[in-house]
């Protein structure tokens, strides 16, 4: 398994898209952070950029990579090696370079401009989001029949989590505004990894109350520390559950 991870990494670290992605993140990070003297504002803009771009780019890149590597996967599976190991190694091989790209692109500028817990949490949020959406990409890969359909589903999934879900949430909040739904809303946020990432970061920034319903609710119900732990744990679930599900399905998949 280590062997496969090593060689997929060797391949992907020479990949141009990963390189461009890293540079793009670095340029965005440096420009957003130097726009304003208040580092909190810079971090907030960077958070919004992260929440918008990381899920889309990760899920698309990973899905396309998995589908393009079908023949390579077949070659690996014709070797004396367990199926589970092949698929997990491919996941790690794709997720790690994407995480590294985020950590380098956003993390390094942050380290020099605003180092501190808040920056660390932002990088952690980005890395967790990358892991979540690579995991979802793997699930899409093992469940879809062909590449075109897989990419379609990936786009819909990314749009759902970045845009549509919040719309539905707001609709829900308006529709049931006469009822005590606060706790239900907190529960619903756990259903969206992007919102969880937002909450995780906002709780660090002292602007939680200003940043809409979800942040305020988390602050109110869970307090900063408990809220952070809760959202981080939920995000880990978003990594592990699709991953385990993918392994289960892949065991019986025809190639």
């Amino acid at each position: 398994m280590k062997t496969i991870i090593k060689y997929v990494l060797l391949d992907l670290f020479k990949n141009k898209i990963i390189l461009i992605y890293t540079l793009l993140l670095a340029v965005l990070a440096i420009s957003l952070l130097s726009l304003d003297d208040n580092p909190s504002k810079g971090l907030l803009s960077l958070l919004n950029v992260t929440l918008l771009f990381v899920p889309v780019i990760t899920i698309l890149f990973a899905t396309i990579y998995f589908f393009n590597a079908v023949e390579f996967t077949e070659l690996l599976l014709s070797q004396p090696i367990r199926r589970e190991r092949v698929i997990l190694a491919e996941y790690a091989g794709v997720a790690l370079p994407l995480c590294a790209a985020y950590a380098a692109g956003v993390g390094l500028p942050l380290l020099f401009i605003v180092s501190g817990t808040q920056s660390l949490v932002l990088v952690l949020t980005g890395v967790l989001l990358t892991l979540v959406f690579s995991s979802l990409a793997l699930l899409i890969f093992v469940t879809s029949k062909d590449k075109t359909r897989g990419i379609g589903i990936a786009i819909v999934a990314a749009l759902f989590f970045t845009l549509l879900f919040d719309g539905l949430l707001i609709g829900f909040i308006y529709a049931f505004s006469d009822y005590p739904i606060d706790q239900a809303v907190v529960g619903m946020i756990a259903l969206n990894p992007v919102d969880l990432g937002r909450v995780l970061m906002l709780l660090q920034l002292d602007v939680a109350v200003l940043m809409g319903y979800s942040g305020a609710l988390f602050k109110k119900f869970l307090g900063s520390a408990a809220g952070s732990v809760f959202s981080a744990v939920c995000m880990l679930f978003w990594v592990i559950v699709p991953l385990l599900l993918s392994v289960r399905i892949f065991r019986k998949k025809d190639l």
Binding site: N15, A69, L75, S78, Q79, P80, I81, D254
Partner: protein
């Protein structure tokens, strides 16, 4: 060596393999023939465990394919289309497969030298032509001197020199008592290699006989004429297959 019992596989409504039973022995060079979509690749992939059978069992040297993945150490597989990660070099691909089969230390690198790949080791897979990629696939299949070779359209895309080299290699391996399972649309390529013919149609086993028996039955020498005769005559003797 390979035993297949009542193997059935459907994709949706389409029945790719229908109740196939076969026994393949060491020293045979079995040629798998049939029109497009007759189930050749599905049969090969079932043996490799890439396709999960719906019904029936496959055993390889006594190991049931479904339960034990270790049997694949004894198989060399050359796929129809070999695609590799773009930025990997030939050297990296070969080294990776060697590392995966870490316990195996003796390598048969005859083809690597024969094809001249040792001079192109640092080229990336993206930059290779289809034929060269096919050569890499062939080298990987023969690298570990397995007991069973499964070759899916091995000569497609190879230049005549490379194709001849590969055929000689196959003949030598067969003489060494290996089992070779090969599909090809180019019947003349199988001339002198194949010892047995399996003919599939619509996922059913139509014919499994030795080449000598077919030559005697049809009165033809050349393999393509033999097959043409057999198909024209409505595939006689399908009842007394060797299986």
């Amino acid at each position: 060596m390979i035993g297949i019992e009542q193997l059935t596989k459907s994709f949706g409504k389409f029945r790719a393999l229908d109740n196939i039973s076969l026994q393949l022995q060491a020293g045979q060079a079995v040629s798998l023939l049939g029109p497009n979509g007759s189930g050749k690749t599905t049969l090969i992939k079932s043996i490799l465990g890439l396709v999960i059978p719906e019904k029936g069992t496959i055993t390889i040297n006594g190991h049931v394919v479904r339960r034990d993945w270790r049997y694949r150490a004894g198989i060399g597989y050359m796929p129809q289309i070999g695609r590799y990660p773009d930025n990997m070099t030939i050297r990296q691909v070969i080294r990776m497969i060697k590392e995966i089969r870490g316990e195996h230390r003796q390598y048969d690198e005859e083809l690597i030298h024969g094809f001249g790949l040792d001079k192109a080791m640092d080229k990336t897979m993206r930059s290779l032509s289809g034929g060269t990629r096919q050569k890499v696939s062939a080298c990987l299949a023969f690298l570990f001197s397995p007991d069973i070779y499964i070759l899916d359209e091995p000569t497609a895309g190879l230049d005549p020199v490379a194709s001849e080299l590969l055929k000689e290699k196959i003949t030598r391996e067969r003489a060494a008592g290996k089992l070779i399972l090969i599909t090809s649309h180019v019947l003349s390529d199988l001339e002198g290699i194949a010892s047995h013919i399996i003919y599939l149609q619509d996922g059913r086993l139509v014919l499994y006989k030795s080449v000598e028996a077919l030559q005697a039955a049809t009165g033809e020498e050349k393999l393509n004429k033999v097959i043409a005769q057999v198909m024209k005559a409505g595939l006689p003797g399908a009842e007394d297959n060797e299986a």
